[in-house]
Assembly symmetry: C2
Homo-oligomer: 248 residues x 2
DNA sequence: CAATTTTCATTTGTCTGACATTTAATGTTT
DNA sequence: AAACATTAAATGTCAGACAAATGAAAATTG
């Protein structure tokens, strides 16, 4: 592990990269202990604060964990699905909000991916998944539910659908698309009629999965896509109108 | 922005979280300047090194960039697709390697997602995308191509397929699945016959997209999925046999 | 007056040295 | 043998300093 003294980049960034590469390449394995801060400082010929900054960078990426005390130090960390999920969702959400991705694009991506799971989910869904979906449908039908709670339930429903495919990699990749959409979905005002239509489609999807009919689930999802798109367009139009009004 | 002095967590982690939340919530907008390190230290009642560690954590997540000099400082950074891509791929790759995801699971996820793009790509692919795919097919047919280069080309081909859908969000989510598979794909030894079959399927996919026939593309992708799975199984079996041999 | 150079204040990058805190291992006592 | 105290090693935090970059203001020059 070496660093380039001529590089203009921060030393801490270079050191972090050096260690990160060692971890990613498999040169360092899970739970392996890194040298102590003092040793690293010596090795890279920098001071301890600089090493510490590098280690904090790695900690921010969940690549290492640190432990205080006698036999403490920095250890290569096993990246768990949950952490990867959280990271992925944060990044996806930021990407959408900072780059002003339009509703249509995000919606299309989300449902295209979800439909990819439908077939597998129809084959493998367990009674547990079906129960979760039914429960969320029931929740969505409750009167007086706020739009935000309705969206939460919607995400939970679709999450169950995706998890039904019983493929953690698929669930992981999908989580980003589904959850990152939520801020955009939250802009929509759901009338009772809107909700009825969505609940109807959700029921059809759940029925199709229960009957292990992948094609029917796909069709219902396609309809849900189209319907969500029209809702989104209306919401965006209303938003634009309100903005024009306030600027007048 | 406040921190909890009673918390057992590192101060730098708390400070980082506090600032991160402000950025994610939209409280701080892109290109906005954070207070200087000295001011932050004052504000949070900690020393400058601690603040710096917090800032390095944020820098590692591409949430801020720093600039030296008179009117320098830390600025909220616009997360670009490219950076998000890189981050996503790194995380996905680590997730697969550290959690020993089996070939079958990763392969299934990858192709399920890819098939989700096929329909859209058939509709929207440009001559550019087609040209890229044809070029990669041509490259794959070249004699003497190493297995690794063959895989590279394979990824490039599928990337073009995905990009053909012209949905950056879709491309972003897919990139993780496709690229993270590469280390697993690299374990496979591709015989000439293997390559011929794959190239044939690639050609069928390209033809289908050119004809804007989504269904045909989907069928060819399904066949490619099945074929890749058998190749993977063989490779894993060979690997297991070699291991048993060496342990005997 | 305009253009160029110099100076200067600000801010991040890095270093030194110190102390606090946590924790496991070791030693001591009962 | 078990409970307790000691110690050493490691990270966490701090204070203060200097280096380096950089933009803006001031001084100089043509």
């Amino acid at each position: 592990m070496k660093i380039d003294p001529k590089s203009s980049a921060d030393l801490s960034a270079q050191i972090a990269k050096s260690i990160r590469d060692a971890i990613i390449s498999g040169e360092m394995i899970v739970d392996e202990r890194l040298p102590s801060e003092a040793e690293l400082a010596d090795q890279f010929q920098v001071s301890r604060p600089t090493v510490r900054e590098a280690l904090k960078r790695l900690a921010a990426q969940n690549l290492i964990r640190t432990q205080r005390g006698a036999s403490g130090g920095a250890f290569v960390r096993r990246l768990s699905y949950d952490e990867a999920f959280a990271q992925h969702i944060t990044t996806s959400t930021l990407l959408l909000s900072m780059n002003a991705v339009d509703f249509e694009t995000a919606c299309e991506a989300r449902f295209a991916l979800e439909r990819a799971c439908a077939r597998l989910s129809a084959k493998r869904r367990t009674p547990d998944h079906l129960a979760t979906m039914r429960a969320e449908i029931h929740r969505q039908a409750q009167p007086g539910l706020s739009d935000e709670r309705f969206c939460d339930s919607d995400v939970a429903f679709h999450r169950a659908l995706v998890d039904g495919a019983s493929n953690p990699v698929l669930s992981y990749q999908l989580a980003g698309a589904v959850e990152a959409m939520q801020p955009l979905m939250n802009m929509i005002t759901f009338t009772q009629r809107n909700r009825d239509v969505i609940i109807g489609l959700h029921t059809r999807i759940a029925d199709a999965l229960e009957a292990q009919d992948g094609a029917a689930a796909d069709t219902a999802l396609a309809e849900l896509t189209a319907y969500t798109l029209t809702l989104g367009e209306e919401a965006m139009a209303a938003r634009a109108a309100a903005k024009a009004q306030s600027e007048r």
